[in-house]
């Protein structure tokens, strides 16, 4: 069993493309759920809106990929308005129902055969991010240090994405420490109280939904550019819950929570995968218990187990404040 490769793969996954995309998605969810108390179960919808915006801008509108970014932000805003206008006046659960459905609806619409000319149907679209790699300042070769080594394309992408994470997190910190953020938190605690003090609760919720949704769209941009492809079935409902899980691991309503949570999530996810494969090929695991084709499923089971244990033994996540959790029972 190659322990070195297990560690190496886990560490690389912790800062890899999926991890950084999840960080962005989880930052959005943190704005929604951690700070405003909005139950968005359809973050994946915002991610696919972002990803498809870029792909369609390049492949169908024949515009530069860079035009796809503002188009994607606009599309995510419209998506947020569509979800928010009918539901934000209602109780929190309605938003949850509508968002989970909207994410699925978007996936099913873009994979529809009748839209094949626009979205590529179930096979999606590829090769639309050349503009991004065309301005890569890194020449051919591998970059990085230690186990963190990538070719010039992936390295360029990761540099841009993590810089983006730093910028977005900085903005979120500024916002949350402002009176604007105070209103969001008061809505999370009791929206009638906020309303009785003259706060336009509906509009603040809408702003939160739009901003967090745009963070989700950025996660979609990252995935689409990183893989040079969009495929509807990548954006399944489970993605939202993985991102929520990552957020809960890190700790909600803390700006560092989504970052560390997503990194740890992917470290474990990749680590368990390699570990299981190594153990399987070294015959540490008997065939009747698990064969080589079942690694993927067992990995998800183990992650699920870990996620059940986490709220039991550390409900506040890694960085959350335990006192806040105890106060939860109002």
């Amino acid at each position: 069993m190659d322990v070195g490769s297990i560690i190496e793969n886990s560490l690389r996954a912790a800062v890899g493309l999926e991890a950084v995309a999840f960080v962005l998605a989880a930052i959005g969810l943190n704005l929604h759920f951690g700070y405003t108390g909005l139950l968005n179960f359809g973050q994946v919808g915002f991610m696919s809106v972002g990803a498809y915006s870029i792909a369609i801008t390049v492949n169908e509108l024949d515009l530069s990929m860079w035009a796809g970014i503002p188009i994607g932000i606009l599309a995510a805003t419209v998506f947020a308005l569509l979800l928010g206008i009918p539901t934000l006046r209602l109780r929190a659960d309605y938003l949850a129902i509508v968002t989970i459905a909207a994410g699925e609806i978007f996936r099913l619409v873009v994979r529809a055969a009748s839209l094949r000319d626009l979205t590529g149907g179930s096979s999606g679209m590829t090769q639309f991010a050349r503009d991004f790699y065309a301005i890569n300042p890194f020449g051919d070769g591998t970059y990085g240090f230690g186990v963190f080594r990538w070719d010039e394309r992936r390295f360029w992408l990761l540099i841009v994405c993590w810089t983006l994470v730093a910028v977005v997190s900085g903005l979120v910190i500024l916002l949350i420490r402002s009176p604007w953020g105070r209103v969001l938190k008061s809505i999370r605690e009791d929206e009638d109280a906020a309303r009785s003090l003259g706060k336009n609760v509906y509009w603040f919720k809408m702003q939160s939904l739009i901003l967090g949704g745009i963070c989700g769209a950025f996660a979609g941009f990252a995935l689409a550019i990183g893989t040079q492809s969009v495929q509807p079935d990548t954006y399944s409902t489970a993605i939202t819950f993985y991102a929520l899980t990552a957020l809960i691991i890190g700790g909600m309503a803390k700006s560092i929570g989504p970052i560390v949570g997503s990194m740890l999530f992917w470290l474990l996810f990749a680590g368990v995968d390699v570990l299981l494969r190594e153990m399987q090929s070294a015959d540490y695991i008997p065939e009747w218990l698990m064969d080589g084709t079942q690694v993927g499923q067992v990995r998800v089971m183990l992650v699920g187990l870990a996620l059940m244990l986490l709220p039991i033994f550390r409900p506040q996540g890694l960085f959350g404040d335990k006192r806040e959790i105890q106060l939860d029972a109002r």
Partner: protein
């Protein structure tokens, strides 16, 4: 005596006041077949403490919800400070200067006490998304707000809890915090929904003092209360509701003797006076029954 402003006002339901801050006309709210509120006309005098009393289910809280925009009436209109406010959303009502508290205290548990207070200030520049990103645009205002919040906390004896989570406060302290936070909006009219409920007697006295302070500072107070001692103690005028209607109003000392109020609280006819003829008839009936029973016993 501030109540002297109402000395010449006839104590009948819907009577006009010399200087009303709140005027309500034909407000009706039904839930299915139940008419929760059906107020024809009522006025609240500026600068005084008006108590709103009535038995459970009289529609007091629903009436509060309607007036403050937390619920919508089927019909009706009302003006606050001369401005029509029917149909105005709750947050705008609050900004106009008509602030309310809740029967079940709404402290923002996972925010520190001082943040609860700061939230109450209206017209904050930093509450706009773009300006929030540039702290220099709102820092000075924030400092002024904090100063005001601290002096209110001082007045309400909550300074020692300033940086604690509001969720750690006791029930009585939460009532104090909610009232103090409402004052951060710089209201003209304060509507308190059962401010003394669940508060120990010592704290009740201090809360009463704070309510009187509001009047001394020129604010109008409307409060819902069940404890008649409290009502007698601090209110200048009492409005009585029962089954959604205003059935009586008047100065507190007159209200206890009002027959309709007694009926509303204890049920009508509980000691309805009877005429001599009726009494005789009842007596005869009773005697007949006794005689009947005796007969049945002997056979």
């Amino acid at each position: 005596m501030p109540a002297s402003a109402l000395a010449d006002v006839t104590p009948v339901p819907g009577v006009p006041k010399p200087d009303p801050v709140l005027v309500v006309d034909g407000v009706r709210r039904t839930f299915g077949g139940l008419t929760a509120v059906d107020v024809e006309h009522v006025e609240v005098q500026r600068g005084l403490i008006t108590a709103l009393i009535g038995p459970n289910g009289a529609g007091k809280t629903t009436f509060f919800n309607l007036l403050t925009g937390f619920d919508k009436p089927d019909t009706g209109s009302w003006t606050f400070d001369g401005q029509p406010v029917a149909g105005v959303p709750a947050h705008k009502v609050a900004r106009l200067g008509m602030v309310r508290t809740f029967q079940l205290t709404k402290s923002l548990a996972r925010l520190p006490v001082i943040e609860n207070m700061r939230l109450g200030a209206t017209g904050q520049r930093g509450e706009s998304f773009l300006r929030a990103l540039v702290p220099s645009l709102w820092k000075s205002q924030e400092e002024a707000i904090t100063e005001r919040a601290d002096s209110l906390l001082e007045r309400f004896k909550l300074s020692h809890m300033r940086d604690e989570y509001a969720g750690t406060l006791s029930g009585g302290q939460r009532k104090l915090l909610e009232m103090a936070r409402a004052l951060m909006t710089e209201p003209k009219l304060v509507m308190l929904d059962e401010p003394m409920a669940g508060v120990n007697p010592a704290l009740t006295q201090s809360l009463l003092g704070h309510v009187k302070d509001l009047r001394a500072q020129g604010m109008t107070v409307v409060f819902v209360e069940h404890d008649m001692d409290v009502v007698y103690d601090i209110s200048d005028w009492v409005i009585v509701m029962a089954e959604g209607r205003v059935i009586a109003e008047g100065p507190p000392e007159s209200i206890g003797a009002n027959q309709q109020v007694i009926d509303a609280y204890l049920g009508a006819h509980h000691d309805a006076p009877t005429s001599a003829a009726e009494e005789e008839a009842q007596l005869a009936e009773a005697q007949a029954m006794i005689a009947e029973e005796e007969e049945g016993g002997s056979s």
